[in-house]
């Protein structure tokens, strides 16, 4: 069946700089060994400089495999370990930990991915796959020799949070964190809390009264001993990084400074005002937002209502779908029909988005109540006249004239005007529509790429109240992780000022750092750059830029990378 697994020990070899590297080649069952000749690869690894021990494992990540690494570190006095197996994404932490358990600094470990990069992509090219695996291992071994021990970076956390924006998202996040016992600064630029919720009527799908919800949350926020609510307050400066943000706010011309450890952006969004579209005048032709206002103030008395969807959305200038306007229209059409079954409601739409069971039920209910849906073509938009709306019926293939005494335009939510300024202050990213952009759609939907800053609600993208609340609770939960830890431990693969004397404090690197992880400080030796390791992500832009070569990246130094390049080309 399968060939015997190879083990080699070289003894009594005089080694340069006493580097003793062990190489573990993983078969991954047949995942690697089925397509590559692992025995041959292991044999090749023996010939590489500084390699004193080579072992082929059936599964290096199995308990047996891990024990073999640990034993070899002790028995063979290995001071570098190279595992040639799968992806570091999944297995590097495990192997590092195993090294640490055996007393070897985990950063003296190097991983080579011969599964994803060789056996998987070269399944039908055994020879070339083998050669590539050898190249990669040669490079890994070469780099390993230059690796340096690193210690994890620790930093204290200021257990306080700032939440920017006191709409429903901000208030929910604030309460969640405050109830967990953290001090919260809730900063709101307008005089009142509540944001868009202040102007809404009933909230779908359960017909919750918006005012009731707002009053309840407002009371809770105002009376909470852990929340400091700062209204009519704008943020003028934010300095620092996760654990240590220095915030300067100003209210009515007076400045105040405070420190926080984490920040949640809950700045919400604005309703797009459709000036110049469909004869919008705010009286006969209004927005859904204004319709809710009429409901609230009980001034609604129209008999024939025509709603037009996607006004100023999914167009050339605003390509995105605001997502919540279909549901708003459906909800409001039901409200009209329930008040007055005789009233007519036409919804002119391009596509209806009513996701989730409850919204779908509401959609069906509106149809049962007699709301008429007419699909229109973007190329032939409806035409609003004094007492009627003309629309070309897509399916009938002719123009209809609908009588109206009120036209309601469904307009999208658009990004707040402060987003750009705030994104610069916090060094977080915006998407092409100026909404805040999360770190990863699936893996980190409520985090930013910058540690310690989180987002929720409309600041991210148009959301229903319910979604905003879920996101707010999620963001509070994410933010509470570093808060709860008190002490932060960060990967030491970060930028280091390797040559302090060379640094001239020019600030070139500081300007390019996407994370604000570098600062120029005055020292006894003059102006020098200082790396803030907890804020640094190790991208390496600074090291690739520095013109005096003073900066380097731990575990990815210029010397290590160039050694890999040379090792590759020496094959």
């Amino acid at each position: 069946m399968s060939p015997p697994l190879r083990v080699t020990k070289k003894r009594g070899v005089k080694l340069a700089e006493d580097i003793r590297t062990g190489v573990f080649v993983c078969d991954c069952g047949s995942n690697i060994a089925g397509y590559l000749d692992c025995g041959e690869i292991a044999e090749y690894a023996e010939s590489l400089p500084n390699v004193v021990f080579v072992k082929e494992n059936l599964y290096t990540c199995s308990e047996a495999g891990i024990n073999e690494i640990k034993d070899a570190i002790k028995d063979e006095k290995l001071n570098r370990v190279v595992v040639a197996s799968c992806s570091p994404r999944t297995h590097e932490p495990l192997f590092r930990e195993s090294c640490a358990e055996a007393g070897l600094n985990p950063y003296l470990f190097e991983m080579v991915n011969i599964r994803d990069q060789c056996s998987w992509v070269h399944m039908k090219q055994r020879e070339q796959g083998n050669e590539k695996a050898k190249d990669l291992i040669r490079m890994g071994v070469a780099k390993a020799a230059l690796l340096q021990a690193q210690e994890p970076i620790q930093s204290e956390m200021d257990p306080k949070a700032m939440i920017i924006g006191a709409g429903i998202s901000g208030m929910t996040s604030a309460l969640a964190l405050a109830n967990r016992g953290y001090q919260v600064f809730l900063v709101e630029k307008s005089r009142e809390v509540g944001g868009l919720l202040r102007n809404l009527h009933k909230l779908a799908p359960a017909d919750v009264d918006a005012e009731e919800l707002l009053t309840k949350q407002k009371m809770a926020v105002t009376n909470h001993e852990n929340i400091r609510l700062l209204t009519s307050t704008t943020i003028s400066e934010i300095q620092g990084y996760i654990g240590h943000y220095d915030v300067t706010v100003s209210a009515n011309g007076t400045e105040e400074k405070f420190g926080v450890g984490v920040i949640i952006i809950a700045t919400g969004a604005k309703v797009f005002r459709p000036e110049g579209l469909f004869n919008y005048d705010g009286k006969r032709v209004i927005t859904q937002f204004e319709l809710e206002g009429l409901f609230r103030t009980k001034k609604f008395e129209a008999k024939n209502v025509v709603m037009i969807q996607c006004v100023g959305a999914r167009s050339e200038e605003r390509k995105y779908c605001s997502r919540i306007c279909c549901m708003t229209a459906i909800k409001n059409s039901i409200a009209i029909k329930e008040r007055d079954p005789e009233a007519t409601v036409h919804i002119l739409y391009r596509d209806i988005q009513a996701y989730g069971t409850e919204n779908e039920t509401l959609y069906q209910r509106s149809k049962q109540l007699g709301v008429r849906y007419i699909k229109y073509d973007q190329e032939r938009p409806p035409e609003v006249q004094d007492e009627a709306v003309k629309v070309y019926h897509h399916l009938l293939g002719r123009e209809l004239e609908l009588v109206q005494d009120l036209v309601v335009l469904s307009t999208p939510l658009i990004a707040g005007e402060d987003n750009e300024e705030l994104s610069k202050l916090l060094r977080v990213t915006l998407d092409e529509n100026k909404f805040f952009l999360e770190s990863h759609v699936k893996l980190k939907p409520l985090d930013f790429a910058t540690d310690g800053v989180f987002l929720c609600g409309n600041a991210h993208y148009p959301a229903t109240i319910r979604e905003a609340i879920s996101q707010a609770l999620g963001a509070a939960s994410r933010a509470s992780i570093p808060l709860a830890k008190g002490m932060m431990t960060v990967e030491p693969i970060v930028s280091v000022l390797a040559d302090e004397d060379a640094c001239r404090g020019c600030g070139l690197c500081e300007a390019l750092c996407p994370y604000g992880a570098l600062e120029i400080v005055r020292t006894e030796k003059g102006r020098k750059v200082r790396v803030i390791p907890v804020a640094c992500k190790g991208c390496g832009i600074c090291a690739a830029t520095c013109y005096v070569h003073a900066l380097n990246i731990n575990s990815y130094t210029d010397q290590q990378v160039e050694e890999q390049i040379r090792a590759f080309l020496s094959g």
Binding site: E432, L508, P514, C539, I541, L569
Partner: protein, 222 residues
């Protein structure tokens, strides 16, 4: 490793060690895991490509491309096309403007130039100048930046070549000009600039022509 980590000297190092081509593939703009790493990466690779091209390397040998981890087919096509291109040019030294021994000399010098202050300073300011602009609010187009860089590349490469020659032997401007195939007035300007920076000194005057020599810099014992 982020493309933002790619030090332009690394690319030169690969060719010095005999690589036939260097391909740097990063994320699409807006999708960078490190926010702006790919933007910087493209600029740095662009600089390396220009300097190496200037010293005689075939431009096909360096490329910067973008591809997401979900675009397997695109990646295969990019690599295949690049590989085809390099194969057409041939092994290092064959399709280039100089044959191998001379080319290698020039590549070493290109690496020095890519590690030197002036080029790195301008490249470090590149993205700032094309977005926010300089101290006076003047925003430059990428084209303008590259054109500026091209002239700096010319100056830097010539300066480093002259310095290299003068480190070996003292020489007069006209000899240097003949050896480096550069107009004598240009060489004189570079030599005088080097002299002002204290890197070159007047060794002796031979007939009517002064001969210059590189100043041996004291190496720190540390």
């Amino acid at each position: 490793m982020c493309t933002g980590r790619v030090n332009p000297t690394m690319i030169a190092e690969a060719f010095i060690n005999g690589a036939d081509g260097v391909m740097v593939v990063g994320c699409h703009f807006g999708d960078c895991h490190y926010i702006t790493g790919n933007v910087e990466g493209k600029i740095k690779v662009g600089l390396a490509a220009r300097v190496l091209d200037f010293v005689g390397l075939h431009p096909t040998r360096v490329s910067f491309d973008q591809c997401s981890s979900a675009e397997g087919e695109r990646f295969v096509n990019l690599v295949t096309d690049f590989d085809d291109g390099v194969r057409q040019v041939g092994p290092l030294g064959s399709g280039d403007r100089l044959p191998l021994p001379e080319l290698k000399e020039k590549l070493l010098m290109a690496k020095t130039a890519l590690g030197s202050q002036k080029l790195r300073w301008v490249v470090g300011k590149f993205s700032e100048f094309v977005t926010a602009g300089n101290k006076y609010g003047e925003v430059f187009t990428e084209h303008e930046m590259w054109r500026t860089l091209d002239t700096i590349v010319m100056d830097e490469v010539a300066t480093h070549e002259i310095l290299r020659e003068l480190e070996r032997n003292a020489a007069a401007v006209k000899d240097l000009a003949a050896r480096l195939k550069l107009p004598p007035p240009h060489v004189l300007r570079y030599v005088l600039a080097l002299q002002r920076r204290g890197l070159v000194r007047l060794e002796q005057v031979e007939g009517t022509s002064p001969r210059y020599k590189a100043v041996e810099l004291e190496v720190d014992a540390a």
